[in-house]
């Protein structure tokens, strides 16, 4: 009797033990419940992209495919993938810009093409998204053109060549070419504008020399801030970097030059050593779904790659959503560029040193 009573009495030690167990159990429950769920390791941007992926797009994918999405948004991704084992890569799906995807493919770190049988939505993408200039598939694109201040009385800007006008001395903005996709694409554009074509590097170098004085930054977020603060008046930028401030009454506008806009693709590839190939293909297919494309496009102002996406009028007016608009995109031959990257980097580093 005494023993029974004693065993049922709530002592301080029992109370603390039970509380601790309950607490640990509560904290660990979601992890334990999902411990058996497969994990798909992907890369992705921060900012608005990261926010909506974390809040909506990612959880919906996890719920539908009974898996866990583990996203690395700490750029740069490629050196980490490069350092990891080929048979057990750090990522299953690599999301980055096209130039890096080409470098990854050259090193054998990603599969060069996506299988259309495993990704049915591939049938609905614009040709540029799977062209011979693309490794994997481009799920979105931005248009690289010119960003300008509308409160400086610059007048109507229509051509890339106006960036060379001396009235923008001290007010023009560009990129650190060795580390920035927009800068690298712009270098190729310089060859087209002043030489025989994208691959005319000598003409491009001469043109870049004449762009000085120029303020250069390493990533587009920094250029957006420079333009918003008035540090630069005319700069190379992608349309998303201007349109994302829509409705905030900023004195900035995007100019699509008459010579054409350059394509800044958001590309997905799958790593050859991934143990989650089925899930990786499912993720690529999911990201190409019209409803997912529409939600992301209207959040981050990227032009969707899927032809079947119908955007709201505000977005449809500005983004590349028809075959006619898409045909104005100029794609860069990144394979050619990457083969000469060291030589180009050495030259442009010299050009832009103070």
């Amino acid at each position: 009797m005494m023993k029974a009573l004693g065993s049922s009495r709530l002592s301080r030690r029992r109370f603390l033990t039970a509380s601790a167990s309950l607490g640990i159990g509560t904290i660990a429950a979601p992890y334990v419940a999902r411990a058996d769920d497969p994990t798909l390791r992907i890369t992705g941007w921060g900012g608005k992209w990261g926010e909506i992926m974390k809040a909506e797009i990612g959880p919906a994918f996890e719920s539908e495919f009974k898996c866990k999405l583990q996203t690395d948004s700490a750029f740069p991704y490629l050196p980490k993938l490069q350092a990891s084992s080929r048979s057990a890569p750090i990522y299953d799906v690599l999301h980055t810009n096209s130039n890096e995807q080409w470098a990854a493919a050259e090193m054998g770190l990603v599969e060069p093409k996506i299988d259309p049988k495993l990704v049915p939505n591939l049938a609905d993408v614009y040709p540029y998204a799977v062209s011979d200039k693309i490794v994997g598939v481009s799920i979105f694109t931005s248009a690289i053109g010119l960003g300008m201040r509308t409160d400086k009385g610059y007048g109507n800007v229509t051509s890339w060549k106006e960036l060379w006008d001396t009235k923008y001395n001290g007010m023009r903005g560009g990129y650190v070419i060795p580390v920035n996709s927009l800068g690298q694409a712009f270098l190729m554009m310089c060859g087209t504008l002043f030489g025989k074509g994208q691959t005319d590097l000598d003409a491009a170098y001469t043109a870049l020399e004449k762009l000085k004085p120029i303020k250069i930054v390493d990533f587009t977020g920094a250029m957006e801030k420079m333009l918003l603060s008035g540090e630069v008046g005319l700069c190379v930028i992608h349309d998303s970097g201007i349109y994302r401030y829509d409705g905030q009454n900023q004195p900035t506008d995007f100019v699509a030059p008459s010579e054409g806009v350059l394509s800044l693709e958001q590309v997905l590839t799958i790593t050859p050593g991934s143990k989650m190939k089925e899930l990786a293909n499912a993720y690529v297919n999911y990201m190409l779904r019209p409803e997912v494309q529409k939600r992301l496009a209207e959040t981050v102002w990227y032009s969707p790659a899927n032809r079947r996406v119908k955007l709201d009028a505000k977005y449809d007016a500005k983004l590349l959503t028809t075959p006619e608009k898409v045909s104005k995109l100029i794609q860069v031959d990144w394979k050619w560029y990457n083969e000469r990257k060291d030589e180009i980097d050495q030259r442009v580093n010299r050009i832009f040193r103070a």
């Binding site: 490069q82 350092a83 090193m107 060795p178 990257k341 980097d345 050495q346 040193r353």
Partner: protein, 291 residues
């Protein structure tokens, strides 16, 4: 008995063991791996056929651009060190000799206060001051003193200003301890023997504070040549230093071997300068043990 005593492991050695292991694991091993990677054609962990090569060092020697980058890095380090010493020494001397405890505490707080904020934040603060639309240029323009903004950012001067602000506390704190231990009566004795205060300082205090100058300068120099954030933000990528070039090689060119070779060169230069500086100061101060 005496043999047993000499072969018995020293108790103190056991205390040193963890830090020695830590040092070996996180200092010698990474540097050894970096040295190895700098003479290989690829990463042996992920590539099947890897051979020894000197091409990374050959590329550096063969292109004067890289030698210019190395010299820029050293120049920024040296100028930062000299300016930090020029600003830090009088402040440290004042802190070491001030009689008021409150005054000492206030000076110490003033020196430490900037260290309570991160390097990135402090560098951004300098950017708001030095940029074309920054406080300095806008004030000068509004006063009608200049018509066009002065080029304060994207220059070596801008980088040195930012680095000095960040590293002066390291110099001051190192010097304060050394100057504080110098017996003031030595200076008084010199003055009693007819030396002016300036001569007493130059011939007594300054030579005795040389170990502090050496330690503070080496600390600031090492930090300045390895700085990444401040040169990249205040230099706007137009001033290339070795740490920026190393990052560029890893993040954008994916050339780990060349990045490792650049890292080794940075390390060797630092070591050579440290040895040379050590010898020079040792000779000047007559403290042979420094060598």
């Amino acid at each position: 008995m005496s043999n047993a005593a000499t072969t018995r492991p020293n108790g103190l050695a056991l205390f040193i063991l963890p830090s020695a292991l830590l040092f070996a694991l996180f200092f010698f091993l990474p540097i050894g791996l970096m040295a190895l990677m700098s003479v290989l054609t690829g990463n042996p962990v992920v590539m099947p056929k890897v051979a020894f090569t000197t091409r990374h060092y050959g590329r550096m020697i063969g292109d004067p651009y890289y030698l210019e980058v190395i010299w820029t890095t050293i120049r920024i380090g040296l100028v930062t060190t000299l300016v930090a010493l020029a600003i830090g020494y009088p402040l440290a001397h004042w802190m070491a000799r001030i009689k008021s405890r409150t005054g000492h505490a206030l000076l110490l707080m003033a020196v430490l206060a900037p260290m309570l904020t991160g390097i990135v934040v402090r560098t951004f603060a300098w950017m708001t001051l030095l940029s074309d639309k920054g406080v300095v240029n806008q004030t000068l323009i509004s006063l009608g003193l200049i018509a066009q903004p002065l080029k304060l950012m994207y220059t070596e001067t801008g980088i040195v200003v930012g680095l000095v602000h960040i590293y002066v506390p390291f110099m001051v704190l190192t010097l304060t301890g050394v100057i504080g231990r110098i017996d003031e009566r030595l200076e008084q004795a010199a003055e009693n023997l007819g030396a002016s205060p300036l001569r007493a300082f130059l011939e007594v205090t300054l030579p005795l504070s040389l170990p502090g100058i050496l330690a503070g300068s080496l600390l600031v120099f090492a930090l300045a040549i390895s700085a990444y954030v401040t040169p990249i933000l205040l230099g706007g990528f137009q001033i290339m230093t070795l740490p920026i070039l190393i990052y560029q090689q890893i993040s954008a060119n994916f050339n780990v071997g060349f990045a490792a070779a650049l890292g080794i060169v940075l390390l060797v230069i630092s070591l050579l300068l440290v040895i040379a500086y050590n010898r020079a100061l040792g000779l000047v101060s007559g403290q042979r043990e420094l060598q």
